[in-house]
């Protein structure tokens, strides 16, 4: 750096941009957080490096770039808390493991209760979490005010704050850095990250997947791991596989940059809003899904309007903040608000989808478990309950209480 006119140097490239090879042992479809983490753990945990990650756009430009980055593990059922807590533990060591800063900030997550039934459900969830070794406590309205002084706890509002569940180890991370950290390490370990490469078909011979057709040529492969979130149904339909998934737009927004005012993460299922303040200073908020099925990455403005009215009742201090940007991602929702991770009726084709509105927090955890599933052709114990068959057997993992909408 010399003189006042010097501009920062162009950052070094974090990964190569290789041409696709004709054959890979494993092809991961989807270069978002889950696909990149899966590729990384395939190399790190299983020593499999002849792997390609195919991304139709640019790396981590789908839901990985569009989520509100909330990380927590306070889910109700044993099956869910096991995989989300596994993920949270990986988050806690991820900077060291990847050798890359991800701005993981364990600032705590509050899930507000606004009615007597909310309170009962929340206390039950706190007790369930504690039995599963997940840090959780119930705090009353005064306790909420202490943890987050800008929350309005007046009883004279439409949905008064009666208390909240609190997970101190929850928090946020910088989503782009997470993706880049995984991508950089996966690349270093020899994995090919191939961008602008849309999958147009899957070749199946004798009930076994043997290749992938793409906009950059045909690729033969031993195994295919799908990690395409909102577009999972489109990919699965290429081999006649029907999924219990509906894709919806989910909107988020940020305010202009503000002084630090919001020390934690506040979520409310009842009024459909969740708020944190990013490291740079913008308030990051998420809404509920748009009601209709949609693949266009945008949503209706009345959803944002309702979200803002809910946010203002909770945080009157936000009234003068200006909106900077809104966007939408496509989320893959399932009937029981739990993901589908495992084998499919087609040999060597593996499925990771259905994370709906809450996949970001699972990024390292599902990468770990999905890599195991693909490497061993057998689910990892943590994702064994999340089969496609559960919709036939009835062994659902109903997380609508802990997972629906608010993430």
């Amino acid at each position: 750096m010399t003189g006042p006119t010097a501009v920062p140097e162009h950052p070094e490239f974090l990964w190569r941009n290789p041409e696709p090879k004709p054959f890979y042992d494993i092809v991961v479809v989807g270069g978002g957080g889950h696909g990149l983490a899966t590729a990384y753990y395939l190399a790190r945990n299983h020593g499999i490096t002849n792997v390609a990650v195919l991304e139709k756009g640019w790396l981590a430009g789908g839901n990985m770039a569009r989520n509100t980055t909330i990380i927590r593990s306070n889910y109700l059922w044993d099956e869910s808390s096991a995989i989300y807590e596994h993920s949270l533990k990986l988050w806690e060591g991820l900077e060291e493991d990847l050798g890359y800063p991800i701005l993981f900030s364990q600032r705590g997550v509050l899930n507000l209760a606004h009615s007597l039934q909310d309170v009962r459900d929340s206390v039950r969830r706190v007790n369930a979490n504690r039995l599963n070794g997940v840090d959780a406590e119930w705090v009353d309205a005064a306790g909420v005010k202490e943890l987050c002084p800008i929350v309005n706890i007046s009883p004279d509002v439409r949905y008064p704050v009666l208390g909240a569940t609190y997970q101190p180890r929850g928090g946020i991370a910088k989503h782009d850095y997470v993706a880049w950290g995984f991508a950089r390490r996966a690349d270093e370990l020899g994995i090919d990250l191939i961008q602008n490469c849309a999958v147009t078909g899957l070749d199946v011979i004798g009930g076994k997947v043997v290749g992938v057709r793409t906009t950059r040529g045909d690729i033969a492969t031993g195994k295919v791991a799908l990690a395409a979130a909102g577009h999972s149904s489109v990919l699965a339909s290429m081999v006649g596989l029907r999924l219990p998934i509906q894709s919806h737009p989910l909107q988020g927004l940020v305010s202009e940059l503000l002084e630090p005012v919001h020390p934690t993460v506040v979520m409310s299922n009842a009024v459909h809003v969740y708020v944190s303040q990013a490291h740079k200073g913008e308030l990051v908020m998420g809404a509920g899904i748009d009601s209709f099925n949609g693949y266009g990455q945008r949503g209706a403005f009345h959803i944002i309007e309702r979200q803002m009215s809910a946010a203002l009742e909770l945080f009157p201090i936000f009234a003068r903040a200006h909106l900077l940007r809104t966007w939408a991602g496509i989320v893959d929702t399932t009937p029981d608000a739990s993901p589908i991770v495992g084998l499919t009726p087609i040999e060597n084709l593996y499925l990771n989808c259905g994370w709906g509105t809450g996949g970001f927090k699972a990024t390292p955890g599902v990468g770990w478990c999905f890599a195991h599933t693909v490497a061993h052709d057998k689910p990892h114990p943590y994702n064994a309950p999340f089969t496609l068959e559960r919709f036939t057997s009835g062994a659902l993992v109903d997380e609508h209480g802990a997972a629906a909408v608010a993430h």
Partner: protein, 97 residues
């Protein structure tokens, strides 16, 4: 927000409507004879195409009547609306599955 044409009331704002998911999903015949897999597909599995999709809407803040629409899920453009009991217009039929 987009305008949606109710077949009875004409164009109204999207906020007046509620969504009802995929259209033309009939209650199964001979339910006693259904396998678990057939039940699962009736209960939990719906089409989820990118492109034209036949779906139900109800004009909740208007005439409160249900109707069907064919909408492109990629562009969110509504291609046709038609009343319950009327056949699905040809334009979306081939692509909605």
């Amino acid at each position: 927000m987009q305008l949606i044409s109710c077949p009875w009331c004409g164009p109204r704002e999207e906020a007046e409507y509620h969504y009802g998911g995929q259209a033309h999903v009939a209650y199964p015949h001979e339910v006693g004879a259904l396998s678990d897999a057939d039940w699962a597909h009736y209960l939990f599995f719906r089409d989820n195409p990118r492109g034209p999709f036949a779906e139900r809407w109800v004009h909740a803040a208007g005439c409160r009547r249900w109707f069907n629409a064919v909408r492109d899920t990629g562009t969110h453009e509504i291609l046709a609306v038609y009343r319950i009991g009327e056949p699905q217009p040809e334009l979306g039929r081939q692509a909605s599955r």
